[in-house]
Symmetry: D2
Subunit: 280 residues, 4 copies
């Protein structure tokens, strides 16, 4: 629509199906004039419909396990070859907890799973950055984003070890953002997005009630995948060059809310009586 | 019980009746060996039962309007005279919003009331500190506390311009804490306390539902006035000498919660159906 | 360049001369297809070169004292008339401290000046919002921005009562952002900008050393007025619709830094010896 | 001195020598009437002088690798046996980075080392909590503390992957604090301490310049190990029962500082000229 990413080259991790945030980012980036490669694990690709997206966006798919340095090296090298130059933007939308999947609650964690959660959901971000840095694969003023969640700051029951993974993910964005900014003017940020009904999000327990609650708490309602993609585009563009090492909340206002009238009204209904509330 | 404040001299603002946090702080400070004066406005004292407290704690009452520099000067001078030396600790528990009282909602504020809210609830803290500083009325390593609320960080409907007042109160603690620490080793902090059913708190709209919600959100439940007083004692003691310019949450964990199982379960009842929740 | 604000109508407060952030925002907004009015106080306009800007951007100037409700009402009414409809974006770039100007240090404040600082630098933002809200002058999904500074979170000597003003400014953005978002989908945010050598900034004590320090601390260096203007454009655009009640740091990374190699190296030179530092 | 921990039973991890914060905590806890066991790794104990401490405090030493569940189970079981009942307080003062030790910089990390850093410095805290929880080894209102550092929020060059470890450590305190608070009223917090010249701290690069800088930045100067121990005592006592899931800065004010007069004056000397600074 605006040609905001005209001439820019990117790598987008984590598009699984049309509900994925990464999917929407790819669509928008394409509309805004970018060329990019798509990457996901072999397994994820089997379940996903990523070929459809690739065709639509005229993008090549390069499978990679983001925890595997060899795979990442190949991904960056190959992407630069295909796109004809260094990379301008990267989206990291990767997260998975075996503890969540296997129903291990937070006070009965399997520690091998825990390390796996960290490796997949956070350390992979460091590996992406370190690989890019070593290959000098990102242009000056390039922009790298990872998707996070408010659980990094506040505990939500059932979110389990993913909360810790998001905390370290945001820390990596700061730590590596300092070095990459200093040395190559590359900026690194995370976006803390509303809970989103993606395939990934749907594994989290009690997600429906939570999504209702956060929607009523947020003055603008929950941000959806498309909203998030729009914001990502601005963060990849040349208009946000001096933002780095930040975690930006893209959540309809939720993170700054203590209690809204709408959520409180709903909550009060739980007591089975009509609690009268003054407007405001 | 522990003699934590043995030999220490203080000034306690804001004890109105036995529900007040300041009242509990006075009782505990007395138990811990401190001597102090009590201060409140003339009007507040008419409604309060402060004489009873004064007798119990062997404390003199010195009326003062904390927005009035002359009153504050008199209060400090007189307190040092009565207590026989410089002050070691001060509690500021003062807050009032005419907009709340008069039912002016946040998008229809009266701006004279607004400035009055700021003056009474926040600027009074600066006036206390500046008066003390000019009179050199506080001993090295003295400790000054003000009571705050999480509304300084997150919006709670109905809390109105008191949220802004708490934000500036916490800012004043930092700004003056820097100067007073640097020049005289005096530390200045705020305590962000759970919503408390004091006379002051009871003016806030929908306080009952909110107190139920925050109680269910907080793993330890809401902190009450007595809990808060206990913590204040430690902050006045010699064991916390290197903490300054901080806002410390004393709230049963609320400020670090996104959603608890207990609150979510209650919330889900509002939909009139039994939503089954897995434990954790 | 991108037509990001095509068809959008705005009001820009605070353009004084070509160094002003508001000036740059006006230029960029014009380039991006917006129409808008410019506003400043009568006094500021006498010193400024705002007519030049107005001509360049094909904008009308409407003088207003942003602390005066009548002036603000006139400004909004007149702007809608001139622009032919409701407003889509507002920039609030207003701040002034008489305590700073008159050399009153933070432990010797004049309290009338203090209230004036609050009124001009923060309460004016509430007045702008309340006036707009009452006139229903802003379109759904409109975007309102105010400029802030990291002093709202961390004390910088010499920044004086402006720190408290910025703290309350950010609080107002949250408090009003909740209501305006809930009722009209209007988003309200603040941008926390690097120290900038504007006419306004130059009054702050020791600004040169500070600017050097923050520049060396920030991996991307200080953000300048033009960088800030670019970011403002994205915040006014339709691509950031779900961000509200936030304070976003636009500062080259400064706010997330504890200590950089570059700043530490410079600092160590102060000891008059060559302290050898390992790279990293 | 105050009998604040009279009758309380504890476990203290990480006392290496008399410079260690854990060492000071043990001394103070003993003075305050607590009984406790001391724990450290076999290797650490070989270098340390922990026997001297044990004698002084009348405490038994139970070696344990805090990353090893069997060791932790033995430690808790044995401690309860020795102390004659459940535990009231635990101090976790454990951290180590092989990347730091081996000189691997942050953009050239060894990922096995990285996972080791996380395991030792952060996951061990979860293991301690999970083990205690499963054995039901901590009394109601028990208090568990871990030591953290501001690098969890802000990047300090050279602190390397320990920053990420501290970020996840603080996240674990929140995540587990919710569960342990909800189920057993046990509170879990971290203390973010000034940089301290302990044996552990001395491995960090450029620590001297940094300690000078933070000392000049902090209005009360850096907090030392003894100050920290005093604060830990209050956090273990019954006076802080409603504080949980918090990270409390115990740092002389550093975390709330943007720039102090003292640090700026020193910084300005680096330019080899006498920059005149007004006082304030």
């Amino acid at each position: 629509m605006y040609n905001l990413l005209k001439g820019k080259k990117g790598i987008i991790f984590g598009a699984l199906n049309s509900k994925s945030i990464a999917w929407k980012v790819a669509e928008k980036a394409f509309e805004e004039g970018a060329t990019f490669t798509l990457s996901n694990t072999q397994v994820a690709m089997r379940f996903g419909e990523i070929n459809e997206l690739a065709e639509k966006c005229n993008a090549e798919i390069i499978p990679a396990d983001a925890t595997n340095l060899k795979d990442l090296e190949h991904l960056f090298t190959k992407s630069m070859e295909i796109l004809g130059g260094k990379i301008d933007f990267v989206l990291h939308s990767i997260g998975m907890s075996l503890n969540v999947r296997k129903g291990r609650v937070y006070d009965d964690l399997d520690y091998n799973y825990f390390l796996k959660t960290i490796d997949i959901s956070a350390l992979s971000f460091h590996k992406v950055l370190q690989t890019a840095r070593k290959l000098d694969a990102i242009n000056e003023w390039g922009s790298v984003l990872a998707l996070s969640y408010v659980a990094a700051q506040r505990t939500l029951y059932g979110y389990n070890d993913m909360a810790d993974a998001k905390a370290i993910l945001e820390s990596i964005a700061r730590s590596f953002g300092y070095i990459y900014g200093r040395d190559k003017k590359v900026r690194v940020n995370t976006i803390s997005q509303s809970p989103t009904r993606t395939t990934a999000g749907s594994g989290v327990k009690g997600i429906d009630g939570l999504i209702d609650f956060t929607d009523r708490m947020s003055p603008l309602g929950n941000a959806d995948a498309e909203d998030c993609a729009n914001f990502c585009i601005t963060m990849f563009s040349d208009l946000t060059k001096k933002i780095t090492m930040q975690n930006i909340f893209h959540d309809g206002g939720f993170s700054s809310m203590g209690m809204s009238l709408r959520a409180m009204t709903q909550y009060n209904k739980s007591f089975g009586e009509d609690v009268e509330m003054n407007l405001e």
